[in-house]
Amino acid sequence: MRKVAVIGAAMGRIGRYPELMFQDLGWPAVKGAIEDAGLERNDIEAVYCGSAYGGRLAGQRALRPLGMTGIPVVNCENACSSGATAFREAWHAIAAGRYDRVLVLGIDKLSMLGGGVLPGQPEDWEVDVGLTMPALYAMRARRYMHDFGLTREQLSRVSVKARRHGALNPYAQYQKPVTLEEVMAARPVADPFGLLHCCPTGDGAAALVLCAGELVAQSTIRPVWVAGAELTSGRFVTGFRDITTAEITARGAHEIYEETGVDPQDVDVAEVHDAFAIAELMYYEALGFCKKGEAIHLLESGATSLGGRIPVNMSGGLLSKGHPVGATGAAQIVEVIWQLRGQAGARQVEGAKVGLTHCTGGGIAGLDHGACAITIFKT
């Protein structure tokens, strides 16, 4: 397997852009990433595009305005992990020697679905009796609170932290901090969650240029190396299972730590899939940043805030930066690339050398989640 580096990264501010065509949401990120890499469009040999709700040929539609079709375009759908899945496939294609320079695009425009909760998975029996995504996470939260004594006030601190960091990120959908009182008093969505315990729906696109290691020297930009990119799917369990443990994430994390030789203690900055407040806490534990049941202490100690031992979601995370589902994995990677290059502005983690992104989701009955993608980067 060949070494692979990321040499270009770009994204637009996540938000709600109902007036913008899907293609016009996408091409600026593509153009930005190629220019960032100091390349031209003809240098790109293939494109991997992740989108969950973009419909058919999402990649071709975003590339057409740039006159960039005519090369292989692989469209990937894996719910929240679509963009990260596209990244993993692109990385593997270069590592295996198929291509030298590949572009990854993550894109979704959720404003075209209207507002409110996302549509449920068709033919899913749990959805047919009233399960929604917020309710699924809310049930995890209630069980976690019951088993580990977490309070709703503590849970709300996750959202306060997210919005505090999102306020430092010009690419975030929400750039205004919130108080604990505001989080606690927000209108109910799925008890114990109020509106501010849930990520917003939004529109966004993020793109990356990947390059074979031996060609990196031709580029002027400082490369960020892909140490490993892990993808797995949830195991189908027919009986009882503990929903306070993020099974798919813990298993994926174990695999990538083995594969890369990186320990959780080595991670300087991480972007994790905080679609709901409880998720960030569960993922601290599943990713090995702390022991089971101790996540809130890690957060309250400041360890996962800017200046802490293991800063998590400096972008604001999904709760503040926003969650254009299929774009999220690529947007997380853009943030970590900027962090490792020292380009993250007011939210920069000083001296960050090892970064991790974690993306998981897709509600499907009997599985912890549909998909989980974890990527580790090194300077």
């Binding site: 929604t132 049930m139 209108r187 027919t238």
Partner: protein, 140 residues
């Protein structure tokens, strides 16, 4: 005990049967080859790939594993409503509407029992029924 086929207005077709005394039962599948019980009844056993599945009435009682009161519902769903995971006595976990007083919510691990009731109304105003669970009444 004879189990009759379900009526068409159930949210999940074929999942509710009735005993002779008209007590409802939630119907799952049990693999003839390896015995694993699954809800709803599958066409193939995910454990042993056995394709022969018998209709199996599931336990009517279980424990409330977790629940949420949904305020932001999908279009066409009356809210708020409570949705739960119930762990049945025979080892099957069921996602189900929870029939409870939303002002006095039950504790987790409370014993619950099966009832059948209205889930929502469909586009032409008809009631759509489904399995539901409610906290077991203490003996008075």
């Amino acid at each position: 005990m004879s189990i009759s086929a379900s009526e068409p207005r159930y949210a999940l077709a074929g999942t509710i049967g009735f005993e002779e005394a008209q007590e409802p039962r939630l119907m799952g599948g049990q693999c003839v080859q390896c015995g694993v019980k699954v809800f709803p009844k599958p066409k193939i056993c995910s454990v042993c790939w056995g394709v022969e599945q018998r209709e199996a009435p599931l336990a009517t009682r279980g424990k409330l594993y977790s629940f949420s009161v949904v305020h932001a519902a999908r279009k066409g769903w009356p809210s708020p409503y409570a949705i739960a995971y119930v762990d049945l006595e025979d080892g099957v976990r069921i996602c189900a509407p929870l029939e409870a007083d939303l002002a006095h919510l039950p504790a987790l691990d409370t014993q619950v029992e099966l009832v059948v009731g209205t889930l929502r109304t469909d586009a032409d105003g008809g009631a759509v029924l489904s399995h539901r669970f409610k906290p077991l009444q203490e003996a008075r």
